[in-house]
Symmetry: C2
Subunit: 383 residues, 2 copies
C-alpha cells in the first residue's frame, strides 16, 4: 500500500490545513445508507459539500446517482463517468446550452423549475427539442426558499402543462431547508413528515390531472435521517451528512465527535493575560459562516480541539480576521485558557462543513491512529 510510505505526520503540515477523518466519514456514510435502506428509497447524494471525486466515489460508488448545485460540478462528474445527475438549482434559459451539451455526451442530466416563465422562454429560445431535458417541478413544503406551494393546483397545472419542447416533465423535487431551524427530535420528525406529505399532495394533484411523474425527490440531511415514512418518494438527497458540522450537532442530528472535518492551525500569539490565543486560521480558512449564532450554543467560528480531536473545555474561535483567528472561552465559562504556546497546533471543528471546505483546495485525509496524512484529495470549485 504505497500510501503508507507517503504518510506525512499531521504536525508537519503547513497550516492552516483542512483535515478529513476518513473513519468518521465512512461511519457517517454508513449511517445514512442504513437509514435509506430502512426507508426503501434510493439515495441521490448531494456533492455540493464534498466537491471531490475521491469523496464522491465513497458517497455514490460505481458512478451512482448524484445531485449537484452547479453545472461545473455536473461537468466534473460527467468527465469522471457519472451519468445520472440532478442539477438542483432552478434552471434559467441561459444555462440550457450547457445542459444540452452534457446530455449529448450521454449524461442523463435533469433540471428543476418553479415557474412557467422558464418553459416559455425555452420554447421561444429555439433550442434543440430532439432530446427533451427531464424537468422536475420544485415544491416549497416549508416556505423557506424557492418552489410552488404544494396545494397550489392551478400553478402546478400551469407549470406542468407548459413544460414541453426542449423540456419534458420528469417529476417533483422538494428540499426541507426549514429542517435546519429545528431544535428537537420531534421537530425534526415533523419537518420530515411535512416534506413528504407536501410533495405527496402535489404529486397527487398532478397525477390526477394526467401527468406522469417518474421522480419524487426529497431531502436535506436532517429530514432524511429523521424521516419515519417515505411512502410515495422515489429518492432522497443529502450532502452534509458525510462530514457533519457544528450546525448539525446543534440541531441534534450528530454529536461533535461525528464531525469528520477540522482545520489544523498553529498558535501565532499567546495572550493568557487577555484570555486569548491567536492562531493562523481566520475566516479564510474557516469561512465567515456563523450558522451556530442562532442556535442555543453559539460556537463562534468553531470549536477548538487538541491535535487528537478532543475539544478543549469551552474554547472556541471568538473572532476571525482574514488570516487570524482569536481563540477564547465561551461567555461565563469557568474553564481556563489551555496552556498553549506559539508554534503549538490545534484542530478546529467548523460550523458549516460546506462553507469551510469551500475555502480550501484539498482535503488532507488522516489516519488518526498514526497521526498522519494518508492521501491528499483535491477539491473542485467555481461554476
Amino acid at each position: 500500500m504505497p500510501a503508507q510510505f507517503a504518510a506525512t505526520p499531521i504536525t508537519q503540515l503547513d497550516t492552516p490545513a483542512l483535515l478529513l477523518d476518513r473513519v468518521r466519514m465512512d461511519r457517517n456514510i454508513a449511517r445514512m445508507r442504513d437509514k435509506i435502506a430502512s426507508l426503501g428509497v434510493a439515495l441521490r447524494p448531494h456533492v455540493k459539500t464534498v466537491k471531490c471525486l475521491e469523496a464522491i466515489e465513497c458517497l455514490a460508488p460505481g458512478c451512482g446517482a448524484v445531485t449537484v448545485s452547479t453545472l461545473r460540478e455536473a461537468e466534473e462528474l460527467a468527465a469522471a463517468g457519472y451519468r445520472d445527475i440532478l442539477y438542483a438549482v432552478g434552471i434559467t434559459p441561459q444555462k440550457i446550452p450547457r445542459v444540452q451539451a452534457l446530455r449529448r455526451r450521454g449524461v442523463d442530466l435533469k433540471v428543476i423549475v418553479d415557474n412557467h416563465e422558464v418553459a416559455a422562454a425555452v420554447r421561444a429560445g429555439g433550442f434543440d427539442t430532439s432530446d427533451p431535458i427531464p424537468t422536475l417541478i420544485e415544491i416549497d413544503t416549508d416556505g423557506h426558499r424557492a418552489g410552488v406551494r404544494p396545494d397550489d393546483a392551478a400553478l402546478l397545472g400551469t407549470i406542468a402543462g407548459g413544460i414541453g419542447g426542449a423540456l419534458r416533465l420528469g417529476g417533483l423535487l422538494t428540499h426541507a431547508g426549514g429542517s435546519y431551524e429545528c431544535r428537537s427530535i420531534d421537530a425534526l420528525k415533523a419537518s420530515a413528515a411535512q416534506e413528504r406529505d407536501g410533495i405527496a399532495r402535489a404529486a397527487a394533484i398532478l397525477r390526477e390531472a394526467g401527468h406522469r411523474l417518474d421522480i419524487i425527490s426529497i431531502g436535506s440531511t436532517p429530514s432524511v435521517l429523521f424521516s419515519e415514512d417515505m411512502t410515495g418518494v422515489t429518492e432522497a438527497r443529502a450532502g452534509v451528512f458525510a462530514f457533519f458540522d457544528l450546525v448539525m450537532a446543534g440541531i441534534g442530528v450528530c454529536a461533535p465527535q461525528d464531525i469528520a472535518l477540522s482545520v489544523l492551525a498553529t498558535v501565532i500569539s499567546a495572550q493568557p493575560d487577555r484570555g486569548r490565543l491567536i492562531v493562523d486560521a481566520g475566516w479564510m480558512a474557516m469561512s465567515r459562516d456563523r450558522g451556530t449564532a442562532r442556535q442555543p450554543i453559539d460556537q463562534g467560528y468553531g470549536m477548538v480541539c487538541d491535535l487528537h480531536g478532543t475539544p478543549y473545555r469551552d474554547l472556541i474561535m471568538i473572532d476571525a480576521n482574514q488570516e487570524h483567528g482569536v481563540l477564547g472561552l465561551r461567555p461565563a465559562s469557568a474553564a481556563a485558557i489551555p496552556d498553549l504556546h506559539v508554534g503549538d497546533q490545534v484542530r478546529i471543528l467548523p460550523n458549516h462543513a460546506c462553507a469551510t471546505a469551500s475555502q480550501h483546495g484539498a482535503y488532507q485525509v488522516t489516519d488518526e491512529a498514526r497521526g498522519a496524512i494518508m492521501h491528499v484529495w483535491p477539491r473542485f470549485g467555481g461554476w
Copy 2:
C-alpha cells in the same frame, strides 16, 4: 488592441460571475496615491484583497513593495519578480524554512512577531543564520488583535533583545483594525492618530534602549485615508481601498458608487406575491460575510443593482443558501420589488471585497461604457 476583438457582453457571462470595474479601481488607487503622497510616506499595498498579478501591478507598479497575508502570496509574487515583501501575520518557527527559501531566491521577505517565544524557538531550531530575516515587532495600538502594548517597555525590550540568530530586528508594525468600528469622520481621524502615536511611542522606547528600527509600518484602509499626520512613520499598508465595499461605505470611507467589485447573478425564481426574488448567487458567490450587520444600515448579503450598476431602491440580498440568494426589500421599506423575471440579471455589491473575491477564481474586468468584458484576470488562493 486585441481585447476589443475578444470583448464578451456582460449579459453573455455564465452566472454567478465576479465583475471588476477597472475605471473605479483605478480611481480608488489614485485617491490612495494622492493621500499617501500628501503624507510623505511610502505605500506598501496589501495584496490579500486582490490576490491577482494583474491587479497587483496596478497597486505596486514595477514590482514595488507589497504586503502579504500568506506565504503562498509571497511565493506567487516572488515568481512574478517582486523582491520587497512583508508577511504581516505573526511568524511561527514551522514557517521559517519557507521564508528562508524565498530569501535565498533574492526576495527581501520580512516577518513579524509579538512575543519572545518565536525568537527563542528559532534560536533552538538550528536554522541557518547567515542571512538573518528582518523581523518587525507587532504593536497593538487599539487592543483588537495581536501585538505588544505600545507602553509595555519591559516586554518590548525583552522581545527586541531576544531577536537574533536567524532573525534580526527590522522595525515595528501596527494595524488599526479597530478603525473598522468607526462611525464618523472624527472617529476615523482619532483612530489614525492613535495608531501613529502608539507606534511612535513604542519606537521611542526601543530607540532609547539602543535598538535600530528601519521600518515603521502602519495601516488599514480607513486609518490611512483619514490620517492627518504620519510623522515618524516610514510606510503605510492598505488593501481593500482598491475595490472598496459596503463595509467601507458604511464607515464613510467611500460611497457605494466607488465599489469596483460586484457579483453578476441571474433571477431563477420570481415571487412578487411573497416580496422576493431568488437569484443564482448565494453565499458561495457572495461569501458568508455579514460585515454590515453591526453597522447602522445592514446590507444583508449585498446591495442589489441593475446591469449598469445603479442600485434598486432598498433591494438587498436578505438571505443566502449555497447557490441561492433571496432578494427582498429592507425592513419597513416603502419601495416595490422591481419587476424582474426569470432570466433577468442583476449586479450585487459585496459587504466585504476580500471575502467575496476569495470565492471566485477570476475577475471579469469590465468596460462599463460598452457593457463588455475586456479581460479575465485569474486569482490565486491557498496558503
